[in-house]
Symmetry: C2
DNA sequence: TTGTATGCGTTATCAA
DNA sequence: TTGATAACGCATACAA
């Protein structure tokens, strides 16, 4: 595998001669100080003659001057970069979040430094080190479970680095966070099944390790209680803890097989997340139970592949891109506050989920009518 | 949608007091120069007394000294960062590549600066600008089509920045590249169908815009020719050019509908890539044609969702992670060569694809036996 | 074997 | 309205 044909081609070499501010100063006939003031549009730029400004800007453009962020940092302490740490980019959950973060950062001319912890604590810490060395102005952590000690925090706030987490919140209230309202989401999903007339519903709960699991289940229980729906404990399973974000598929598959073996009838299945749901659908299909004809299935997250699945998946959407966006806004607020020596507020956000109805659910009245 | 509950919490403030090399010097009783030499293990470190070394290292660790990459850059011209530019991270193709790049970079203690062009030329150029401002030591571009002018190159090599592309190669031979051997891949897929006994095969070719399309088709034609397989032009369609990486699904769906309307029988369908294949499968299923019972379908790429699809997809795997890895090795070689003022070779690599047989294909002899 | 001095490209303070 | 100069943190040539 991956043997390869190499076609060596030609040689390279060259000189690295970036044009500096001094070059612009010399070429324009002004001093570096003036050039700096003009090009940064500093407060003092108010007092610079318009003709001077114009001249300097022209020369800068003609020479192709680019500010040297590194040198600038030495004085201004601004790196124009933000650390973006994923616990595992392999999780399909992450891509839209990354897109949201990247896009928001781009608007502010900030650059994301990408880090992926591969779910390993030591890798997380090493990356944290590297990000600090690169003097990121802020840190965004995308995770859905916890291995991070509180003390890492101390390090961050000591260095005045604003942080925000997505998909997970620090115990206590020491770091800003953005999460979906899991309880509302759980409720939404069950409500949908209930409205479709389903009464015998199986559940595959999330692993204890994940912070999402408990509130989602709480939303389910609350709705069940308020609507008089009975949850049969024999139809409730809980996924084991695992570090592999794609293990949900496998888990959904196995647990659904298990549910089927119990010979307890259910007309709908609510999975912890989309991958679990997909695994469940495969198990059902293999067992000759058609989705949604014989059994409805609902997921959670609305990861990109959910709309592509067969059947396409009814699910509870997390506004992933918007969450990435919001996290950036939060840390940028912190950055700006720091710059202006203001205090600012840490905040914990719960975004509203949204039910997306697709092909994997249908009315209970129709269930079984096809066979 | 996305209305939200905000829970403001408490306030923050703090002082940013990083410990510098001078601090270490003072605390250890040596000069900054000695400290620098020891901590960087510079050539002169050979002459430093072991006790001195030990003392300095201890103090550095105790104080939590972290080198300031920015300041270091000013002298050494090394930023320890690499620009990683994606044309569209939304393409499922990209995630494993990113993982491969990140992992290789991590081994070398380099940090990836992430950029996503959203398929827009101006965004690409703006990001290029930003990456240059951040003085990345190298650039990796992940793309499968071209909107980049050759002159951007000039800018890079003028600044002595090594570059490599993944999934696409510059016209001419001015930049290193890593691609899959598309021709071999096309051949592999068709060979598989042929071995299964399929003779009436439909094809959905890739858009002209994509560099992969032509060689894949060439591989198909060559195999067909050498094996005596006849390709019915009425069963060959070509996807239109599009900037949306996920449009393949839609295209696969529509074109398969079209193929079905022709009432020309085919027992297998070969799609340009996995997304196209998934779209095709949906169309077939909707039309009552079961996959693989009535029709086999094969894709290309082996993106992460292909194994999760229903049925799981037989496809030609690109070693995406390995490709990311290799690209890093290539640019690192360039970086090191630059450092040592050696010349180095630009190289163009073709990785071997691999057939992954899953549930969407089966022997033609069995085709149709289920209904 | 270790220390001093200098400069990398910017920005900010002060002076002119 | 603009210019000279110092300082940011580090690495190196040279001196000791």
């Amino acid at each position: 595998m991956a043997a390869e044909a190499v076609i060596p081609v030609k040689r390279q070499s060259g000189k690295n001669q970036a044009v500096t501010m001094r070059d612009v100063a010399q070429a324009s006939g002004f001093s570096p100080a003036t050039v700096s003031i003009v090009l940064n549009n500093a407060p003092l730029a108010r007092y610079i003659a318009p003709t001077t400004k114009k001249r300097i800007e022209e020369v800068a453009k003609k020479l192709g001057y680019r500010p040297n962020i590194m040198a600038r940092f030495l004085r201004s302490r601004r790196s124009h970069s933000v650390g973006v740490m994923f616990f595992d980019i392999t999780d399909p959950f992450c891509t839209p979040v990354l897109r949201g973060i990247e896009n928001a950062l781009y608007q502010s001319s900030y650059v994301p430094i990408f880090a992926d912890a591969h779910n390993q604590k030591n890798r997380f810490e090493r990356y944290l080190e590297m990000l600090l060395e690169h003097h990121v102005e802020a840190l965004i952590v995308v995770a859905n479970w916890l291995f991070v000690d509180i003390h890492l925090l101390a390090d961050l706030s000591k260095r005045n680095i604003t942080a925000a987490t997505i998909g997970w919140e620090m115990p206590g209230d020491s770091v800003s966070s953005v999460m979906v309202d899991n309880e509302a989401g759980g409720r939404l999903a069950l409500e949908h099944l209930h409205q479709l007339g389903h009464r015998k519903i199986a559940f595959i709960r999330g692993p204890k390790m994940l912070i999402d699991s408990a509130p989602r289940w709480k939303g389910i229980q609350k709705f069940a209680h308020s609507s008089g729906l009975e949850i049969d404990p024999a139809l409730v399973l809980q996924l084991p803890d695992s570090f592999d974000p794609n293990s949900g598929f496998e888990g959904g598959y196995r647990f659904t097989e298990e549910l089927l073996q119990k010979k307890k009838r259910f007309t709908a299945l609510m999975a912890f997340d989309d991958l679990t749901a997909l695994g469940a659908i495969r198990a059902l299909t293999r067992a000759g139970v058609k989705v949604p004809e014989h059994c409805s299935v609902v997921g959670f997250d609305d990861v990109p592949l959910s709309s592509l699945a067969a059947p396409s998946l009814t699910t509870v959407r997390q506004p992933l891109e918007a969450m990435g966006n919001l996290a950036v806004n939060i840390v940028m607020e912190g950055v700006n506050a720091g710059l202006e020596k203001r205090d600012w507020n840490i905040s914990q956000h719960k975004m509203n989920p949204e039910l997306v109805i697709r092909d994997s659910t249908r009315a209970a009245a129709l269930t079984g009518s096809d066979d």
